[in-house]
Amino acid sequence: MALKKILLVDDAETILLMEQMFLSKGAYDFVTAKDGEEAVEVAQSELPDLILLDVVMPKLDGFQACARLRQSAATSGIPIIMVTTRGEGANVERGFESGATDYITKPINGLELVSKVKSYLGD
């Protein structure tokens, strides 16, 4: 059975490492991108099952990248979890407006991350 693929997007190497550590117990394949533009490219070529998308990034921020992913037929249905530093209502609302499926806040809680990913991809 093919492993579920997750695209991890963050300009901070620390976060990419953390996310992979937290999710390493699940049967997942990981692909990574370090900015919004790269995220859109990788998503279109790899067609992941789920995207963890940082908000504050160079070139294209998480909101813009999310909106672009939703405009493309190939990626419009992929669940996108925004990883945001700020959990204020307005920020979260903007994430949902741009097409995000869900969000988590930094600092990332490992158990919360695993639980959210499982809720979209199963065990």
Partner: protein, 246 residues
Amino acid sequence: MKSEEDGRGDYVRKVRERTREYLRDVLTENETLRANVANLQNERSFLEDRVKERQQELDSYRAQHERLRRQLDQIEAENRRFSEQFLDIEQQNANLANLYVASCRLHSTLDRQKVLDAIQEIIINLVGSEELGVFESSDVEPALALVSHFGIEPSRYAKIPFGAGLIGRTAAIGDAYIASRHNGAGRLPHESDLTACIPLKLDGKVLGAIAIFKLLEQKAGLEDLDIELFDLLATHAATALYCTRN
């Protein structure tokens, strides 16, 4: 006259005959009823025995049900304990992952800027603060010099003499300052938001300090894991920075 007497005699005979027949019927009926009563008594006795048996079975099922209920309660309690232990272990794993990642990031390069970036990333992403300063001890005077910062006004922290304010005192005595655990006496105005100050130490010598100011809004306060991260930063960040010195 005679025929009148004959008529009465016939009548009496007939009455007697009918009475005898009636009596026979009554006796037969009586026998039947006796037999029925006997049957019913037998049946009753049989049914009473069945009721007793069923009652015993019911008592046995009730006792078994009670035993099973107690076992179920025990299993559920055990299940809850295992679930709590599982969550604890998962949390410990997550904490270890944090520490592992922090250590990896600090020691994955000998490039000074990358080490400073890694320290910032650790504070921002693992501790949860977007206001921080990284200081190094000056070689020429007992003071800290700001070498990296995020979210603070650098001019206010450019140089901090040892012993001045909470940051300077941390460098002077070499012990971490944690706002929620220590007295903030001696706090300078620009240190009002200081959450923690960690001395960077190598071989007992203070090489610098990391000052962490306001935490992210969604972070209610420092947790045990943060204190462990501070311990790790105190030595590993110091070592990593020291290794980048020319």
